[in-house]
């Protein structure tokens, strides 16, 4: 009896030799991530008003509002201040995206942010506003819960 079950266990392993491999050949073969995956952020600079609610709700103070080093003026953002992400702190909870009142932030499927130097992981507004490949506007499909939640009118901090 015992021998039989040991043999059964072995057979179970041997069977997998003939099955389709589960392993992805990673750098060459990538898994398609679902829409709404919470990767790095995408900033629409023409929608951002610089209100700072994203920096207020961020649990780890990874967002700072910085003046954008850009010639072009944005009429909706008279002070010209945009969020800058320090990705070594970001936990990808995307509360900032859900709380953004003008929809200036969005999800992307980028997750590959590794660098040799820590300073390189600071993402300026310009870098954030670069649209990734194959992007098709995910946020429109996800009506965030913030739509039904209470967003403070005046910032408390």
């Amino acid at each position: 009896m015992k021998t039989m079950s040991v043999a059964g266990a072995f057979w179970e392993g041997v069977k997998h030799v003939f099955k389709k491999t589960f392993t992805l050949k990673h750098p060459y073969q990538k898994r398609e991530l679902p829409d709404g995956y919470r990767g790095r952020h995408l900033l629409y600079m023409d929608r951002c008003t610089g209100c700072g609610i994203c920096a207020w709700i961020c649990p780890e103070k990874c967002i700072t509002l910085v003046p954008a080093a850009e010639e072009k003026a944005y009429p909706q953002n008279p002070e010209g201040r945009f969020p800058q992400y320090w990705y070594v702190r970001c936990c990808f909870c995307h509360f900032c995206t859900d709380y953004c009142p003008t929809g200036a932030l969005d999800y992307t499927k980028d997750y590959d942010l590794a660098e040799y130097e820590k300073e390189l992981i600071i993402w300026s507004p310009q870098r954030l506003s670069k649209v990734p490949e194959g992007y098709e506007g995910y946020r429109t499909k996800f009506h965030g819960w913030a739509g039904v939640n209470h967003v403070p009118s005046a910032r408390e901090e």
Binding site: H26, P27, P59, E60, R89, F92, Y111, A114, Y116, K118
Partner: protein
């Protein structure tokens, strides 16, 4: 090292370093290092779950010669700091790092290891792990996806490929 022309008085070690540091053999040695990166399983905090997933079947780093964590520090090459390093643990991380043989590399995995992350204002953690040990690659994410960690390993391999043989 040379006193007079044609007379070598350096140690044998110097000679070996010169021979292996030169281009054709250097590439061979670095190639060997790239394909035998054995990690230490030092699960300092929760990112270890994703380290386990990376070692799992879908991503399988053995394709890069990265053997599943063996447990012995004395035969490991790369230390992956998997998450928060607390003050209580920092001392032990240093002990682990010192026990590893040269050449050795370190990857800081996750926000907490890089900068403190969600716990950056806590009373009991070390915010920047590079104050404890030198770090080669930083992987942000909370926790990073296994693919992101794998990409970091590939980045580390590129770094090793460019490196001098006896730099460490």
């Amino acid at each position: 090292m040379r006193l007079a022309p044609g007379v070598w008085v350096g140690s044998l070690r110097d000679l070996i370093e010169r021979v292996f540091g030169a281009p054709p053999l250097k590439q061979l040695v670095n190639w060997g290092r790239i394909y035998s990166l054995w990690p230490v399983h030092l699960m300092t905090a929760c990112c270890g779950a994703e380290f386990g997933a990376m070692m799992g079947p879908r991503y399988d780093p053995e394709r890069f010669g990265m053997q599943a964590a063996t447990g012995s520090l004395r035969q490991s090459d790369v230390l992956i700091i998997e998450g928060t390093v607390t003050k209580k643990m920092a001392k032990r991380v240093k002990v682990v790092w010192e026990q590893m043989p040269n050449p050795k590399y370190a990857i800081a995995m996750g926000d907490c290891a890089c900068s403190g992350g969600l716990f950056h204002d806590s009373y009991s953690i070390v915010n920047e792990v590079q104050k404890v040990i030198p770090i080669d690659v930083y992987v942000p994410g909370c926790p990073p996806r296994p693919e992101a960690l794998l990409n970091a390993v590939i980045k580390l391999r590129e770094k090793i490929r460019r490196e001098e043989v006896y730099s460490k």
